[in-house]
Symmetry: D2
Subunit: 258 residues, 4 copies
């Protein structure tokens, strides 16, 4: 029997081992509190802060229904080798000439959910135009419920994409900046929107990495190694409720849990 | 007689006529609710969305004690002509070879507050290094209480600057992205921090501007005019309480008021 | 009767009134010296240094068979209004959702020449992928002789595009940097290549503009007005000979004429 | 006895093993042809295309009097470890808070030559302002003859710096783009100038690297490995003659030798 709405948990960029730890530690609590139906997470920084490996993927795979990615998704060679067996991973949709699945379809409670990642382009490397390629997902044969992770740098591109997608998809959930924004809302056409879901990992550094080396780089301009930091662990996420008949979002709530 | 703490209201980027309107409309309510001692606002987008004119400055000057700025501060010629008479404006500190005041000193309740603007450099035009120039404000003869607006694009540069300044200034309050972040906190050394205070103006568009033309630009790549939008007006700000003896921040609270 | 080869004159970015003047002054001499069959010029900076107006277009229209453009092509509103009557202008091919002709076909000596502009993307605004869109010009029903202006910033993107197009088009002629490079050659597949054809206008400033204001901007970071400079006028161009049967380039020679 | 002028050979970015080979192969011929007094080379790409190692440094050290560098200079850890023993290397001058020598002083024929590297900032990582820091080299106690490698991306920043330095130093020789430009000249104040000296290494690829992988990256957007290519080896350089009494340049000539 279908429920009237489907509740989605979407976890913001999980960074490194501490990110994997906090997310696994917190999921029971979140499950109990929110009773979500579908769990999705952005994992572009899953392994050591950059990219994904088979081992780190396997460690969190059982806890989620689908994974979104980002500009760092290809950083580890191991990922390209193993991508075909990672069935829950949605590679960036607007990198069409690569391996990996353009989107993932999750089935829960007799309802299907399409999950996809789109990359922004402002202050990022060139990829295909997300505004133009979105159209390829607006088809009768695809699920009405569509959750899009828009992985982008600037607030302007994210807001523009959100408005552009309003009424066409169920949610545009921003990632990449690793800082949660305070602007979650349901747009007039029924699309849930937040500029950035935030960071799941160490909040005591710089976007999840040890601060001292990064500060030094800003002073000396020397290349530096980015090491995942370990303190002030927090899970950043949001909960989106979606009408299963219309695919419209009913509610969005952000989570910032220590 | 000195009070034990000083309460600062800091208003995020005021954009255009609707930004000026909402801020003037709301200040009575905020004054009553928060009883702040000092009011500061970022005004780089005060006039028509880009830059400042004498006329728009005069319209809001009476309501504030000091103003911070940003990368768009020089966009209107009128500003350069009249800058010497705009005593409350702190031009970007790390643009040292320009006109305007490098910082503003406000005196309230027998206590002095230094207000300055620093610009970031990642994905922005080159300016002097903010990390290196901060040192010029760490002097015995300057007020202990220092409020710094860090006007920057990326979360990494903002967080790195926040940690770098921790214990040296009273507050690092981010601006420029026009989206309020959900990460306000007091750093261990006593510096109040938020990645972005947000936008004071129309929240129904793209960073304060009409969405349709901007969406079209993302599809056609054609140059477009940025017009201030008019709906969903909100004031974004934060309140920071500062110990007047030590200059340390005691509390930071964000405001997102329709 | 067809000649065995067609000789093309391609003139690098014509900047402002002095650019228009030097090109008109020199064409008789070049015609006599090189007896070229087809004359093409890049005119993105034709009017006052940025963009094109109907008036400036009309001033040089009689001297050329086709015009290429660039990132600044839309800077003047007048251009958009009059573009439909400017039959010789090839707007950027990888901006497909705009007005203007995607390419121009010139007929000379019973031979057709396709002229197109492609924009680069590295350190430039997003547009469609030039490598992917090139394919749309590789069709039986289009002329075998194809002259492509690749208007791009970096040497790496230009060289990569040159090699990618080798054997597919007659010439990849770089523009945009306003400095002629010393690397003209015929690639193994028969495509003529040069990283940048150079600047037609004032060589006594900074990329065709008055140097003093630009130097000041590098020191003060203040916005500045770019005014076309007037001294050391030079015409930068190249001559490409093309086999009319195969479309292969036989020779490329650069011109740097005071 | 002092000669009337000093002849400088400046070799553009030496890339990888093939770059080291061609430069060593050609120096006898160049020495015979030009009888230069001082030999300088840019070696930011000496080792495998990125950075410098002790071993590759030692291989070419005997052939040159001084070396300039660039943005890639720190890419190999080995360099930082050994930099103190590499006496001929001028690290980027506008990275003041690093190890390495800010400039190198060469003595030949009883005449001293100062050699320094400055980095540009447009489309490059932030460093200190080259226009402002140049002043630190304009001192009575430093040699009158000053050869500056300006390692920068854009033609506008390079030309602006050239004009700014005119009359203050003997030569501004551009590097970094790996493509030689056709604009060498003596500026009115007596400074030799060229926008880019070019590439010493493989000219049959993309800026010295294998083209196929780079072309693929432009199509698929996937990260790729940059391998030094091996064909069409050329040495790019220039010869600058300098009046030993005034430090003014008398002549500049570019070299592009297969
Ligand atoms: Fe991330
Ligand atoms: Fe990312
Ligand atoms: Fe702003
Ligand atoms: Fe700004
Ligand atoms: Fe141009
Ligand atoms: Fe251009
Ligand atoms: Fe290089
Ligand atoms: Fe370089």
């Amino acid at each position: 029997m279908q429920t009237e709405f489907l509740r989605i948990l979407f976890v913001g960029d999980i960074v490194g081992d501490v990110g994997r730890k906090i997310v696994i530690d917190k999921l029971d609590f979140l499950k109990e509190k929110y009773a979500y139906d579908v769990a999705i997470a952005n994992i572009e920084n899953l392994a050591g802060g950059f990219g994904i490996t088979k081992e780190t993927y396997d460690a969190i795979e059982p806890y989620f229904d689908a994974f979104t990615t980002g500009n760092h998704v290809w950083d580890k060679k191991d990922f390209l080798i193993n991508i075909d067996s990672m069935n829950k991973v949605a590679r960036p949709f607007n990198m069409p000439n690569t391996k990996g699945k353009p989107y993932v379809i999750v089935e829960k409670n007799y309802t299907q959910v399409l999950v996809a990642t789109f990359l922004g382009r402002i202050f990022m490397n060139p990829v295909e135009n997300p505004f133009i390629l979105l159209n390829q997902l607006i088809r009768e044969d695809l699920p009405t419920i569509k959750i899009i992770d828009f992985h982008a740098e600037t607030t302007s591109e994210k807001q523009a994409f959100g408005w552009f997608c309003d009424g066409k998809v169920s949610a545009i959930l921003g990632t990449h900046t690793h800082v949660q924004t305070n602007d979650e809302k349901i747009l007039p056409g029924g699309t849930a929107y937040i500029t950035d879901v935030g960071l799941t990992g160490c909040h005591g550094g710089v976007i999840g990495f040890k601060k001292q080396a990064i500060i030094e780089k800003f002073i000396t301009y020397m290349p530096t190694k980015f090491d995942v930091c370990k303190e002030d662990l927090r899970l950043n996420a949001c909960i989106v409720d979606i009408n299963v008949y219309t695919g419209k979002a009913l509610n969005i709530e952000k989570i910032n849990e220590a």
